[in-house]
Symmetry: C2
Subunit: 434 residues, 2 copies
């Protein structure tokens, strides 16, 4: 596409959608087609998608499109009539969880799911206080935006929120290690709990992404989650795990919270759930869930409709048939090794983190001091886009490459990613040398 | 379908989805297919749909399904890449509005749209107070549920909400009429505005459905809206029109607020927007909209994606090509006359109201005293379901038949509806006689 077209589109966006609509890249891409791990622009140029988790099974997966189409041709209505698809999907979905999760509620967006989860915790606990981290985002409703530390709500976070430092093993608190580090971060949670007590605010719960994705995908100090959640529970609060980013096989296991030593009371689901179709969910313990259901009316017109549930079922089918969780683990390990190799070649890579097919590459201007290099990250992301690879940035310091491709990512795709990253890092660091 | 299957489905619902999931009818229907104005159950029995506004163009309209399928096969991604479909749709949608509406934001549900609209009004006004009616519902997020008087939020409505009586010309306040009646209802809005002033709470706005759909589709006393909104504006608040039910041709004009003497500052859209695909929107004056956009980050992962916008565009196409707004007006008049004829034959019909293809039939046990007859309404809705016609109930007293068929409803469909209503009313009133 030529520059004038980009300018025309930008002008139309500004006029119709107003200011403040985020676009990726200094030179935005105009994507018109997607297939598997590839995206194509108007000029027919293809881009390796190393960013998008929503199309978790690959862009425009024919099996999902067919399921969606078949159901859209047959029936699409709300859930106040009986329908089997919602039940089949609920059963299949719950079967992927620990047995303690017995119920599910369907909505349309991760924001709606978190909005419901907050109310579940408030109703169950009788409290109003929530703990989240100091570098996170959980969604865009009025209530949920209060816990989204990286995009402060216009009217402030309010008295019911305490933000704790996310558990970082790289730029570790007080340069601690091991159990001492975990305990130091746990003590921040203890401080938050105490602060609520002093303020006379009862704790409702702690809402976290179990892999701290927005924070920068840290290696979580061993024992942190178990101890932190114990404190939350002792104070009467619930543990809400926001699996909107971590879920559906992303980390090489179905759910991010599995095997972390702390089972959530409530889990929220979104983004990859319908491979792009707007569906989200809240999965919870029966007692917590039923307390909510019995004490408030919640109905979502589009939530759990036959088309959304058909899309959700198809996504589970494809994940299973194509062994995408195992692929996320295996190809993920391969990418991880490639990134570690890059770290050995490039001083500006301070740390490589991640699990499954979700990576954070922490860029620094000084490896010793671990000084974040957000400008380098921006340059790198933009240069990679020019070379045909799409990725993003995350982290408290905006210096962490966010690499999160669709789950059918192959070793060949990984080779291309690593080779182009290597080349670009060499170019950029050469250009930076005096 | 046989009874045991219904019981099995109900048991599975209870187990998987928990308690408190609303179902229509004493004997719920198990719908498996839809086409035009018809729904079909597992036994192949067909039902005339006189309830569903979401599939506004008719169930499973092939043009909409094709547009959805074509785009789902091609690309479905978020709006941080450039894409023309969102711009084409935004342009087409805004062209259906008064010129004062220049911008649109896309989300997934009417609840999300109203949640954004409330924040727009709070940011623009610097206030926190909202006025709504005493028999309404605007959505399910934590913030929006505070203005949903018919489903009280578990923690109360809070100090920032004032509920005013909806403007009813049938059970009129103090038995007034004409301008005096309008002024009496306006005085309730004035009381709410004053009450906020006394409490030191600045007004943010008034959120209403312009046809007061949940309240029971009243004939709005002439001058009420104009005067009420003037008071709101004088106090610094905005007028938010919730067009989730009234919009997209339902009332025989494209938007419910048109020609009412008060132009909203913000309009919210939902339900019929994508004919079942989860898409919603907020349309507003540029100054109000841009103030929101410039002062807070709002991003909705699924909102405005190419598939949602393709569905939205297809709905606008079908409404235009099939003259559905004109049909809503013309067939609507025909249905209205039929209902008026029923009123002349059946004492239990106290009032017939509505515009376009949205009707409220107010059932009473005493026509003189206008005593609401909710039990009769329930019997009637259930009996009509057994006879193959689906409708619902609304209103402050739960006694108003809610008749709101897909927009391609024909005079033949109307004849069937009226004939079966006539028959059922005769049976039920005969059965009630001593």
């Amino acid at each position: 596409m030529n520059a004038s077209t980009t300018e025309q589109l930008l002008a139309r966006r500004e006029k119709l959608l107003g200011p403040g609509n985020p676009l990726f890249y200094d030179h935005p891409v105009h994507i018109v087609r997607g297939e598997g791990v590839w995206l194509y622009d108007t000029g027919g140029r293809r881009y390796l998608d190393c960013y998008n988790n929503v199309p978790c099974v690959g862009h425009c997966h024919p099996y999902v499109v067919d399921a969606l189409t078949r159901q859209a041709r047959t029936l699409n209505t709300h859930t106040r009539y009986l329908h089997e698809t919602i039940l089949d999907y609920a059963e299949r979905l719950l079967a992927t969880f620990d047995r303690s999760f017995e119920r599910v509620l369907f909505a349309c967006t991760g924001s709606e799911a978190n909005d419901v989860a907050l109310r579940m915790a408030r109703m169950w606990s009788g409290g109003e206080g929530f703990i989240c981290t100091n570098a996170t985002y959980h969604g865009n409703t009025t209530a949920v935006s209060k816990l989204s530390s990286i995009f402060p709500p216009f009217d402030g976070f309010g008295p019911n929120i305490r933000m704790v430092p996310w558990p970082d093993s790289y730029r570790a608190l007080d340069n601690l290690e091991g159990e001492a580090l975990a305990d130091a971060y746990v003590s921040k949670v203890a401080e938050a709990v105490d602060s609520f007590k002093r303020a006379g605010i009862k704790l409702a719960g702690m809402l976290i992404c179990p892999i701290f994705a927005n924070e920068g995908l840290p290696v979580i100090p061993s024992g942190y989650l178990e101890k932190a959640i114990r404190l939350v529970r002792e104070a009467g609060g619930l543990y809400i795990a926001d699996e909107v980013q971590a879920g559906f096989g992303r980390t090489g296991k179905m759910w991010g919270h599995t095997g972390q030593g702390a089972t959530p009371d409530v889990v929220t689901l979104g983004k990859p759930m319908g491979a792009g179709h707007p569906i989200s969910g809240v999965v919870a313990r029966a007692d917590v869930f039923d307390h909510f259901r019995n004490n408030t009316m919640y109905f979502n017109t589009f939530g759990g409709n036959p088309v959304s549930c058909a899309a959700g079922l198809a996504v589970l089918d494809v994940i299973e048939r194509e062994n995408l969780v195992a692929n996320a683990a295996a190809t993920g390990r391969y990418v991880y090794e490639g990134l570690q190799h890059l770290k050995s070649r490039h001083e500006c890579i301070g740390d490589v983190r991640g699990a499954g097919l979700f990576f954070g590459v922490d860029l620094v201007s000084d490896r010793e001091r671990k000084t974040p290099a957000p400008d380098l990250a921006r340059h790198l992301v933009n240069t990679m886009r020019e070379k045909g690879v799409l990725m993003g940035k995350i982290g408290e310091f905006d210096n962490v490459l966010k690499i999160r491709p669709p789950l059918p990512f192959s070793p060949d795709n990984a080779d291309l990613l690593i080779a182009l990253l290597d080349e670009t890092l060499s170019e950029l660091t050469a250009a930076l040398k005096p």
